[in-house]
C-alpha cells in the first residue's frame, strides 16, 4: 500500500502548471508525468534547458498521481475519450503493448528506429515498448527486481535457491530471531513480479507463440518453491500479506537475511540512522542453475498521444528525444537515483563517481526481463494474481492454481 500513501502525497502536492498563453508561432506541448521524488528543482532546471533550446515550443507539465493504478485509470478514460489535451506522457512498462494495441500511442518508429533503440538502450527495455516490430514509446528509466542480503551475516550472495536456503538457515540457526528470505506475496501486481522471477529462475518462460503460458513444469516448480519457503519457515508467514514496504521495513530493522525488492530500497537501507547501514549488499536473484536470475523489469516510458495534431506531435517527439537523452538519464540517476535505460550511461564517469550503486546495477539491469509483452497482460493480470495468491496461501496446489489461471487467460485471449 505504499502506492496509496504515495498517491495521497501526490494529490496534496498537485500539479505545478504554467498557463502562459503561447506566443505567435509557438506550439504548446503538454507533458504528463508522475512526480519524481525529492527536490523538484533539478528536473525543472532540466526542462528549462529544453525551453531555451526550443524557443518555438511552449512546454507545460502536469503531474500525475504516483500510484500506477490510479494513473492507468486516468489514461484509460482520457484516451478512450480521444483526449488531446496532453501530448507526451509517462506510461508504466506493462501498459505499452496494451495502449499501442488500442491505438492510443503514436507510432514513433520513424524518429526512433527499433534498430537504433536496441543498440543504444538495454535490449529488454526496448522489447517492452515494441509491438509487432514498431516502437510505441521510449524507455525513460527502469526498475528491476533484485536480491538484497546482509553482508555482515553471509559471506557472499547465493547464486542458487539451494544455496540461499542453506545460507539463510545457517544465519537463522545462529540468531533464531532472524527471518530467512523476505519477498512480496500479497495479492497484487508485485506478486506476479515475484512469481515470474521464480519461474524464470527455474528456467521457464512466460510466453509461448506470443500467448501467455503459465501452466508449465517450471512454473509449478517455481510456485512450489515459494510455497515451500513459507511452509518450511525459510520465509515468515507474513510474506503472504506483504508488499514492498512491509518487507523493506522488516529488512531495514535487521530482522531478515535476504530480501527481494526494487532498487529504491538501497537508498533507504543506506540512509543515516538505518540500523543496517553499511551492512547490506545486493546481487542478481538466484536461480536453479546458478546463472544470474532475471529480475522483473519495471519502470516508466515516454509515449506520444496518438490524438495529438501533427504540429504538436513533431514538437512532442523532440521532447521525448530530449528527456530520454544520455544527459537526461545521467541527471535522473544523479538527482533522483532513477535507473538508466541507456546502456552507455552506466559507463559515464559522472555516474561511476556520483552514483556507484547505479553503475554496479548494470548486470542486473541487463538481465531484467519484462512481464509478458502482450496486449492481454493487463486484462489477465488481475485474474492471475488471484490464482497465484491461492497457491502462495496454500489454498490450492500450484498445479491446480496454474491450470485455473491458464483457463482464465485462454478465455480472455480467445473468447468463445
Amino acid at each position: 500500500m505504499r502506492a496509496l500513501s504515495v498517491c495521497l502525497i501526490a494529490f496534496a502536492s498537485c500539479s505545478r502548471t504554467s498557463r502562459d498563453a503561447p506566443a505567435t508561432g509557438q506550439v504548446t506541448v503538454v507533458l504528463k508525468h508522475q512526480p519524481l521524488w525529492g527536490d523538484a528543482a533539478p528536473f525543472h532546471a532540466f526542462l528549462d534547458r529544453f525551453r531555451r533550446e526550443n524557443p518555438d515550443v511552449l512546454l507545460r507539465t502536469e503531474t500525475l498521481p504516483n500510484a500506477s493504478d490510479v494513473a492507468r485509470e486516468m489514461f484509460l478514460t482520457a484516451l478512450e475519450g480521444a483526449a488531446d489535451d496532453f501530448d507526451v506522457f509517462a506510461i508504466d512498462v506493462v501498459w505499452a503493448p496494451e495502449f499501442a494495441r488500442a491505438g492510443w500511442l503514436a507510432d514513433l518508429s520513424a524518429s526512433f528506429p527499433p534498430a537504433r533503440l536496441r543498440a543504444e538502450f538495454l535490449p529488454h527495455a526496448v522489447e517492452a515498448v515494441t509491438l509487432d516490430g514498431r516502437v510505441y514509446a521510449v524507455p525513460w528509466f527502469l526498475d528491476v527486481g533484485l536480491l538484497f542480503y546482509r553482508a555482515d551475516l553471509v559471506r557472499r550472495a547465493p547464486k542458487t535457491y539451494d544455496e540461499l536456503r542453506e545460507v539463510a538457515r545457517a544465519a537463522m540457526a545462529r540468531n533464531p530471531r532472524l527471518a530467512g528470505f523476505l519477498w512480496q506475496g500479497r495479492q497484487y501486481e508485485g506478486l506476479n513480479c515475484n512469481v515470474f522471477e521464480a519461474i524464470r529462475g527455474h528456467g521457464g518462460e512466460l510466453l509461448r507463440n506470443g500467448r501467455i503460458a503459465l501452466d508449465s513444469p517450471e512454473a509449478r516448480a517455481a510456485l512450489q518453491w515459494m510455497r515451500d519457503a513459507i511452509v518450511s519457515g525459510l520465509s515468515p508467514r507474513s510474506v503472504v500479506s506483504s508488499g514492498e514496504e512491509e518487507t523493506r521495513r522488516a529488512f531495514q530493522d535487521g530482522r531478515a537475511v535476504f530480501l527481494r525488492n526494487w532498487p529504491y530500497v538501497w537508498a533507504e537501507v543506506q540512509a543515516p540512522g538505518s540500523p543496517v547501514r553499511g551492512k547490506v549488499g545486493f546481487a542478481p536473484l538466484p536461480s536453479v542453475t546458478g546463472a544470474p536470475g532475471p529480475g522483473t523489469l519495471g519502470g516508466w516510458q515516454l509515449a506520444v498521444n496518438a490524438h495529438s495534431p501533427p504540429a504538436r506531435r513533431h514538437a512532442a517527439e523532440r521532447l521525448v528525444a530530449f528527456l530520454t537523452s544520455h544527459d537526461a538519464a545521467v541527471d535522473l540517476a544523479l538527482h533522483y537515483s532513477r535507473i538508466p535505460a541507456r546502456r552507455a550511461v552506466y559507463d559515464d564517469a559522472r555516474i561511476r563517481q556520483g552514483a556507484p550503486f547505479i553503475a554496479a546495477l548494470l548486470p542486473i539491469a541487463l538481465a531484467a526481463r519484462p512481464r509478458p509483452v502482450t496486449p492481454y497482460y493487463a486484462l489477465a493480470s488481475d485474474s492471475i494474481q488471484g490464482e497465484l495468491s491461492a497457491a502462495i496461501a496454500g489454498l490450492r496446489s500450484p498445479a491446480e492454481a496454474l491450470s485455473r489461471a491458464q483457463r482464465i487467460v485462454d478465455h480472455l485471449e480467445n473468447p468463445r
Binding site: M1, L4, S5, L8, D69, R72, E73, L76, E80, E98, F99, R101, A102, G103, A179, G185, R186, Q187, Y188, P236, R237, S238, V239, V240, S241, S242, E246, A250, R255, P375, A378, L379, A380, S381, D382, Q385, G386, E387, S389, A390, I392, A393, L395, R396, P415
Partner: protein
Amino acid sequence: MKPQRQGALMAAPAAAVLAGVAVVPVLAAAWLSLHRSIVIFHEQRFIGLANFRFLLQDARFWSALGHTAYFTAVAIAVELLLGLPVALLLHRGRGLLRAAVLLPWAIPTAVSARMWAWLFNADYGLLHRLAPGIDWLGSPSTALHAAILVDVWKTTPFVALILLAGLQTIPDDVYEAASIDGAGRARTFVSVTLPLLRPAILVALLFRSLDAFRVFDAIYVLTEGGPANATETLSIYAYKTLMRSGDFGYGSTLSVATFACVLVIGLVFVRVLGRPR
C-alpha cells in the same frame, strides 16, 4: 390545483438532479451490461444477456457475493449488539464522552484501514503480539474477519449515534409510568425501550446494510481482495473488472448485479419500516 402545481414545480430541480446523477448512470450501466465492451480492443457489440449468463456460472462472482453477504450480516449484527449498550451509555454521558466515541467514525476509512493494516501486520503488529498464532491478513480464513473487525470498529459509533437519537425521542413519562407499574430495569428495557427504539434500529439497519453491501475502501486498503480473492467483495470485483482489466461490459454486469442486491435490501427495509405497528 394551484398548490399541487407549485409543489411539482419546486420539486422539479431536485428530481432533475436526481435523474441526472442517479437514474441516467444506472440505466447507462444497465445498457452497457448487455454489451461485450473491452476498451483496449475497441470492442463494443451488443450481446444481449450473455454477460448475465456468464455471471450465473462465474464462480468468482458467487464467492464475491458470499463474502459480501457474510461481511454485511456479521458486521451489522455485531455493530448493533455493541452499538446499543454504547448508545445507552451515551444517553447518560455528555459532551466529551460522545465526541470520544465518535472518533473512529470521523477518521477517513482509508487512513484507519492503513492503521489497522499495521496493527494486523504479521511481523510487528500489536494484534499479532497479543495472539501470535493468527495471521490476520495472510490467511484466507481470517482476512475477511479482520475486515469485519475494522468495519465494526469504525461504524459502531455511527450505529450508536442513530440509536442515541432514537433513545432521546422516548419521552420520560413512559419510563415514569413503567416504574409506577412496578417494572424493573430489565423489564423496562425489554417492554418499553426496545419497542420504542424499533424505528431507530430499522433505520440503522437500513443505512448500514446498504453501506456494508457496497464495502470497498476498507477492504481495498487492507488486502485488495486477497489472499486468493478471499476478501473480494462485489464492489472490489466490479472495480477490478472495470478499471484494471478495462472490461466495461462485464464490469457493468457486476455493478448491475450489486445494484439489484442493494435495491432488494432497500425495498425490504422500506417495506418493513413503512408498515404501521
